[in-house]
Symmetry: C2
Subunit: 357 residues, 2 copies
């Protein structure tokens, strides 16, 4: 089937953004995909004819050296080019890609979609702002919107949900374990480690954010749960999601060093909760629950041999309970993070918009 060249404008060159550039370098020619813009916080590189492979490799190398894109060949400040205006003039479908961790570009995505440019988000933040912003971003528009990798990375979570909704299924609830880090933690505690030892180990191995409280707060899981709930029609704000953090509020103000020094104070609480669960053949998992009216994340006791209890370490899982998948739910499991699977999911989103056949 004849396809036209697809033009990419990518914002953000962190791990996922760099992996995506690598993937396009490897497969872009076969897929007839071409970068016309790469952007970071300093500015953007703009090449309406498409950046050559050599140019892309040079830009990746510059980022590895810590240099901003504005200073590279073809680099500009944000004031010097209206990427949306020019992208709308390209002779093929254009896709804006958000690999940032910022909300500053949300208006750009809205304006892009209005002008028929497609938008693919690897960034959760634009989807968990105010409900009004969410509706402005996700409402009907000339350009498509995809955000598969915001929940479960490359796992086919959003497209499965979209398919159920499009074909008229009634979603009762979606439940899941969406934090590989917290999954790892509770797997290690099952193996006998204390809470603090498990946190310290995950932190030292680089499985947590630099400040492990970012994982332990449950905030990232709450964002994923809200993305699912909102897609089902739930009208909640992020602040209304019920979140159980894994440390008390007074530890939020400590320095990282103080926090790591005092975390052993929590060992007894979690030892007891795990022991109580295990006494009933159960165990602990950090679970997200989303429906069209409710959204909550926290530590729950689950059957040891069940879908959640039998998860391996950092593996993620998502379980769809629907009118059609009633007696036996539909379950998807696998790694829910990682630059490579995430970048592949973004590329899958791009292809799902621009290809047929």
């Amino acid at each position: 089937m004849a396809e036209r060249t697809v033009y990419l404008l990518q914002y953000g060159l962190g791990k996922v953004g760099r992996a995506l550039v690598g993937l396009v370098l490897a497969h872009g020619q076969r897929l007839d995909i071409r970068y016309v813009a790469l952007a970071d916080s300093s500015g953007l590189v703009w090449a309406p004819e498409g950046l050559s492979d050599e140019a892309l490799r040079g830009l990746l190398a510059a980022k590895e050296r810590g240099e901003g894109l504005a200073r590279q060949p073809l680099g500009r400040d944000y004031g010097q080019v209206s990427s949306i205006h020019e992208a709308a003039e390209l002779k093929g479908p254009a896709v804006l890609i958000d690999c940032t961790a910022s909300t500053q570009m949300t208006l750009l995505w809205i304006e892009g979609r209005r002008r028929g440019i497609h938008v693919v988000l690897a960034n959760k933040l634009p989807l968990v702002g105010s409900l009004a912003d969410y509706q402005a971003l996700t409402g009907p528009a000339a350009g498509a919107l995809r955000y598969e990798v915001t929940v479960g990375a490359g796992l086919p979570v959003i497209r499965t949900l979209e398919g159920m909704l499009a074909t008229g299924d009634e979603i009762h609830a979606i439940e899941g374990c969406f934090s590989g880090t917290l999954g790892y933690l509770f797997s290690r505690m099952e193996e006998g480690l204390t809470f603090s030892a498990a946190v310290r180990e995950a932190w030292q191995r680089g499985y947590t954010e630099p400040d492990p409280r970012e994982d332990l707060s449950g905030a990232d899981v709450a964002r994923k749960a809200l993305i699912l709930a909102r897609r089902m029609g739930c009208k909640l704000e992020l602040t209304q999601v019920a979140v159980e953090p894994l440390f008390p509020a007074e530890m939020a103000d400590l320095s990282l060093e103080e926090f790591m020094d005092s975390i052993a104070e929590l060992d007894e609480v979690y030892r007891k909760r795990l022991a109580e669960a295990q006494a009933e053949g159960r165990t602990l998992r950090y679970v997200a629950q989303a429906s069209d009216t409710d959204c909550r994340v926290g530590l729950v006791t689950v059957a040891r041999q069940g879908r959640f209890g039998s998860l391996h370490g950092p593996e993620n899982i998502v379980v769809f309970h629907t009118a059609r998948y009633d007696e036996t739910p539909l379950t998807i499991a696998g790694p829910g993070a990682g630059p490579e699977v995430t970048a592949a999911g973004v590329l899958g989103d791009i292809l799902s918009i621009v290809r047929k056949g």
Copy 2:
């Protein structure tokens, strides 16, 4: 986003075919989908302006009464109308849907795709004919081809595989349990039933085909495995798939009654195999394995607490081992049969072809 009316031409009105008509009756208006043809072995009903809801309900009722479509209002013999020719003249995308269990229409699907008509198969048989026929059916053409429900019914198996291939992942192997009936059987044997008692129970409850040897032969699992393997590039014919049937060849010629009377002869074989597996903390599952060079189905011992061993009764599972999903595979599980989830999967295929945005 503006969409054009989608025109459906459906062949086959068995359980899945009737469920699909029901689904279009419920949601077709919202989706702007309209039947222009319904066909069974007697002939077809043809209405280029679209069949009204009333007409569709009348045709479903006629089928329930056991009447052929050729005798209904607007009914014709196959000689009287060239549906492909006329479908190509419609003012919007047309989709041929195969809900039959026949291979007689395969040339129609090939010709349809050549003329820009899309094809959605719920029928496995056109995909497991000779390799030459497979290549003619699945090769590049103006019309799209989808066949999600041929493996795992509504579970997103084929689209997940397609996404991996499109984004350049390397599939090492796909493994799975694709027979709800055989899953049920071995779950019941774990609960203490003999092989023959489990078969008889499944048969009496209508979980098996009318002749349970159709399930026990492994042939249907082999077809699903071959569909996956061929999509990965495997050049095997169906006769080259290694299949372990669950009864000896000499029992294939017995009458159904004789077979059901003599099946207890097999109890000791399977009791012993299960006991040997259980002595090692393992159990038995009927597993399909597919790669780009190999395709085999049969009874294997699996870890009791593993992905396959912990399956519940008729639940299906598919596990993707790939370069990206290496350490932890991507797993999809849920019911792999049933008219409702299958029909929803067919509708999902239709929408995936004709919709964007």
